[in-house]
């Protein structure tokens, strides 16, 4: 009954105490936009460090309310000003930016459910062992494509 797995067991992750600068370096090196954050001791999933959460810190808080300021085309802050803001948060631990994953799957989650999640735009889904809460893998849209058409099949 062993079907070939879709998910990637060899994935980059972050410890909660690592800094935003560490996370950004890992993202650039590994070409990913979401990284799972695990606790240092047990390898349990703490949450996700996502680029959209990081970008939110660069935005005026008023925009994040979701009312009244639907676009920022009238604001002319420069790239230099945004780089300054970025420098202010680089030393902070990723713990401060962790968000709950939009969805979590188990190692035995049926492939069609994974196709559905990816279809809904949820990428980089953590694969967690329901028995001990440990992070055992990550599944991305690329992993699925590889499982469908790559040499693994």
């Amino acid at each position: 009954m062993t079907s070939p797995v879709i998910f990637n067991r060899n994935f980059p992750s972050l410890k909660a105490t690592e800094t935003v600068a560490d996370a950004v370096r890992r993202m650039l090196d590994d070409r990913v936009s979401d990284l799972p954050v695990v606790d240092a001791a047990g390898g349990r999933l703490v949450g996700m460090f996502r680029l959209d959460r990081l970008y939110a810190t660069l935005l005026p808080k008023a925009v994040l309310i979701g009312y009244g300021v639907p676009d920022l085309a009238f604001v002319s802050d420069t790239l230099g000003q945004l780089r300054e803001k970025m420098r202010e948060i680089e030393h902070l631990p990723v713990r401060d930016f962790v968000v709950r994953p939009r969805d979590v799957v188990a190692p035995d989650t049926p492939p069609l459910e994974i196709v559905l999640l990816l279809h809904q735009g949820i990428n980089n889904i953590p694969v967690v062992d329901p028995a001990d809460g440990k992070l055992v893998g990550m599944v991305s849209a690329r992993d699925l494509l590889n499982a469908l058409c790559g040499e693994g099949g």
Partner: protein, 447 residues
């Protein structure tokens, strides 16, 4: 049962209708005040229960609802829902901030005036939902604390809303019940509202304004805003402004054209929806119309619906007449004392409880005092006192008006705390100042 009056016999277990209606009314109002359950649910349950126990039948309940109030509210909500997509509100806010050279106190004044003017013509909650986020964006760029700005905007929205028939729900209800027009409100309330607005800003200057400052770099950032970019849909903007102008003209000519405000507002909304959807495919049309309809504040509308039925229930059962007699007894039937008592009682009560159920109860109560005080004409000062008290009283505490809670909620989401007591310390005395001014005004002009 034969031969007995139908209504008396139909109340559950033969209980006296006055007792049943009063109990249901009091329980419903207590649950509304407790804020544990959504107010629309409570009002509809209370109204439904009145019918189920037989105090009213469905036909009476339907007749009790003031459809003119509901129609006017719905029409204006729809017009705003379409208009706000154009970016008009952001444009005006940014434009006004730049007009004063991005000086913080100047911005506070300008944003308060913008909020007051918008609130006079639109629902207060909608106004603050559209203007407060822009204020927070500007204060963030200026690196100044947003609290004084938001505080001033709460006051401005409640004060501005008092000035016109359509500015605040109590006025819509009063206008509809007392057959007062848009112009009546403008002539009788707008003058004192301008004075109160100015008088409110003076203490705010000494409390916060004189210490507000922003660095030249921060001010430059705001001055670099391109307000023109905030207009997302110039065609929609022109259409919206044209329809709003026509609707307001309609309100002003209400007596001459003989058309009620609900018709004017709903017809205006329908025309705006037509203009917005003309030539679009059916999918876009249903998306646009669905958006405008679903974003109407159905909770408020259903709350009103339930309240009208509930208040009619106690009116039919005789409680309103008893309360009116009680009030007249307490004021010795003196018309001046009654007017001023209504002003002060409305203000203090509205600071702590929702002014909508209070005003809904006061409408038939004031009407039933008409004969004792000398007819409908004699009631006019009482209506103005009720409007000033109920609308301005809402400024007194953070829970006094929906706009206050909305601003506090927006602020907390952006990381600025709004505490009940901190707000009360400044707001309650400031609200009392506005009532003292109203007292003098009502006294000099009408009594």
């Amino acid at each position: 049962m034969q031969g007995e009056p139908a209504h008396a016999a139909s109340v559950l277990f033969g209980l006296p209708p006055l007792l049943v209606a009063t109990t249901l009314f009091v329980v419903t109002y207590l649950v509304i005040m407790s804020d544990r359950l959504n107010r629309a649910i409570v009002a509809l349950l209370g109204a439904g229960a009145l019918i189920l126990v037989g105090v009213l039948d469905q036909h009476e309940a339907m007749r009790a609802v003031d459809w003119n109030t509901l129609g006017l509210l719905l029409g204006m909500m729809l017009i705003v829902n379409v208009t706000r997509r154009s970016g008009l509100f952001q444009y005006v806010a940014i434009w006004s901030a730049k007009k004063v050279g991005a000086d913080p106190w100047g911005i506070l004044l300008m944003m308060s005036i913008v909020t007051a003017v918008f609130s006079a013509f639109l629902d207060n909650v909608t106004t603050v939902l559209l203007t407060v986020p822009v204020t927070m964006l500007i204060t963030e760029e200026l690196e100044v604390k947003p609290y004084p700005f938001l505080f001033a905007q709460i006051f401005a929205s409640n004060i501005g809303g008092t000035a016109t028939l359509i500015g605040d729900p109590p006025n819509i209800m009063i206008g509809s019940a007392a057959h007062l027009t848009f112009n009546d409100f403008g002539v009788n309330l707008a003058p004192i509202i301008v004075v109160i607005m100015a008088a409110t800003m003076v203490p705010l200057y000494f409390l916060w304004g004189r210490r507000l400052s922003a660095s030249p770099e921060c001010r430059k950032r705001v001055m670099n805003f391109h307000e023109g970019e905030a207009i997302t849909d110039p065609r929609l903007l022109r259409q919206s402004l044209a329809v709003i102008a026509l609707v307001i003209a309609g309100f002003m000519l209400q007596r001459q054209i003989g058309i009620e405000p609900a018709t004017i507002a709903i017809f205006g909304a329908a025309v705006l929806l037509l203009l917005d959807n003309l030539g679009k495919d059916s999918e876009t049309q249903s998306k646009n119309v669905h958006g405008a309809l679903s974003e109407a504040e159905w909770i408020t509308l259903m709350f009103f619906l339930g309240l009208f039925v509930l208040v009619y229930g106690i009116q039919k059962a005789g409680l309103i007449d008893m309360m009116a007699q009680g009030l007249l007894g307490a004021t010795g039937g003196d018309y001046k004392v009654t007017t001023l008592a209504i002003l002060w009682a409305s203000a203090v009560l509205s600071a702590f409880v929702d002014n909508i159920p209070f005003v809904a109860t006061m409408l038939p109560l004031i009407k039933s005092m008409g004969p004792a005080l000398g007819g409908d004409q004699a009631l006019l000062p009482l209506w103005w006192a009720l409007s000033l008290g109920a609308c301005l009283g809402g400024n007194g505490t953070l829970i006094g008006a929906s706009a206050n809670l909305v601003v506090a909620g927006l602020a907390e989401r952006a990381g600025t705390s709004f505490r009940f007591l901190e707000y009360l310390k400044v707001a309650f005395p400031l609200m009392l100042v506005s009532i003292v001014l109203s007292h003098v005004y009502v006294w000099l002009r009408y009594l």
